[in-house]
Structures are given as C-alpha cells and as structure tokens.
C-alpha cells in the first residue's frame, strides 16, 4: 500500500467531500441532505486515516479521531431522523423549502 502516493488518497477524499457539498447545495429533500452530510463526514475520516498512515505511522491519533467521528455521526443521524419524522407529522412533507414556520 505504501507505493500509492498520499495525494491520490487525498484526491479521493477531496472528490467525495465536494460531491457531498454539491448534494447538500442542490437537494431540497431533508433525507437526501442528510445523506450528503454522511458523504462529507466519510471523506473527513479518509483524510484522518491517510494522514495517520503516511505522515505519523507511529501514532494513533487519526484512528481515535475517526472512531469518535463515526460515533458522533451515528448520534447526529438518529437525532436528525427524529426531527425529520416529527416535521413530517406536522407538515406532511420533508421538503426543506416547504417547512418554513418556526412554531407550528
């Protein structure tokens, strides 16, 4: 694995990040926006592990950061989906453009 240069791994993660950013900017459905956020979080994880592997192979900080990011992503997804389901009950839609009142 060491013959692959670091900037190729970073190319993959950068592409994935901006794919997620594109999805977040263009989608209006809340669940697909959540999927775009998951893509961005994954690209960050790839970055952490690649830097840990190539630049600091004797340390383990990147691995621990990745574990905590995965944990927090799971918590975030569960809270976001609870909010989306609650919104769906009140507005009968999960389109971000139509859910526009703060207090119902």
């Amino acid at each position: 694995m060491n013959e692959i240069p670091l900037h190729l791994v970073l190319f993959v993660s950068t592409t994935l990040f901006f794919t997620g950013a594109y999805g977040f900017l263009t989608r209006r459905n809340m669940i697909t926006m959540l999927m775009a956020i998951e893509l961005m979080l994954n690209s960050v994880n790839i970055n952490f592990l690649a830097f840990n592997k190539y630049l600091f192979p004797g340390k383990a900080e990147g691995v621990f950061f990745t574990i905590f990011i995965i944990t927090i992503a799971a918590a975030e997804a569960s809270v976001a989906i609870a909010i989306i389901i609650n919104l769906y009950r009140k507005f009968r839609t999960i389109d971000a453009e139509n859910t526009d009142s703060l207090k119902f």
Binding site: T14, I31, E38, N42, F64
Partner: protein, 171 residues
Amino acid sequence: MSLSAAVFCFISLMIIVFGILTVRTSRIFRAAIYLLFTLINVAALYFCLGYEFIAAVQVVVYVGGIVVLILFSLFLTEQSGTRLPEIPYRQALVSYIACIAGFGIIYTIILASDLLPSGQEAKILTMKTIGSKMLSYGEGGYILPFEAVSILLLAALTGSISIAFKTKKNE
C-alpha cells in the same frame, strides 16, 4: 502497476462513481442504496490502508446502522418509488461551479504542500492497543473523550425518543 495499486484504483473509482450517483439520482430510494455502496467501498479503502478495526466499525455503524435508519425513515415518510423534483437549472449550475472551484483550490493546495512523513517507525495498531488506549488515563489516553461521547450518545438517545414521541391530542 502492482496488485494493491490496482485494487486501490478500483475502490477509489467505485467510491467516486457511487458518491456522484448518490447526489445525482432522482429516485430517493436508489440514492440510499448508492450511499450504501459508497460506504462499503470506503470501508474497503480503510482495509487497504491497513486499519481493519476501523473498517469493521465502518461496516457495523454506517452500513448496519445509519443506512438502515435512513431506509426506515424513507419508508415512514415517502413512497419508495417517488421521484425527486427536478433541480432548477440555475441552482444546479451555481452549485456545480462552486464545488469545482472549491475542489480546484483545495487540490492545488494539496499538490503544492510538501507532505513529508515524520520518519517515525511504523507501528502495527492492534485492537488490544486501541482498547487499552481508549480506557487509559495516562499519557495519550482517551478516557475523557470516551466518557464525553458516552454522555453524548445517551443524550442523543433520549433526545431523539422525546422528539419523535407522538403526543396525544386532547389531553
């Protein structure tokens, strides 16, 4: 090109293709399935990098947890065959230009910077090391973030239950 380089190229291609399909497809159910494939390929990339434990965590938490959660919420809120509305042309174009520009800037910075290795000896990270470092409160231990994350998870659990809880009318 050696075998591991070929495998890396294949996995990277799959990640990028399925990632783009996730944000471009007009059927919401297919977007969730493409996301599933992207996450599995990211786990394979971790495996290639030599972090087997993280690859396993990725499969268990993302593929087994988050994607299933997303699929369930899709079934609760939409019909599985619904098509998303067409993206307005202007908005798609502006987002596309913004993302390409951002990608160009970031990748130019990456290519211009000399990412030099620190020259340490490579250490094989076993699951035992990860577990003991996670619970150690000495030098380089992670007990404090571990406890903070456990409180956060508890808060997220109770919070999501109380948000999604259906209140009965006329009570």
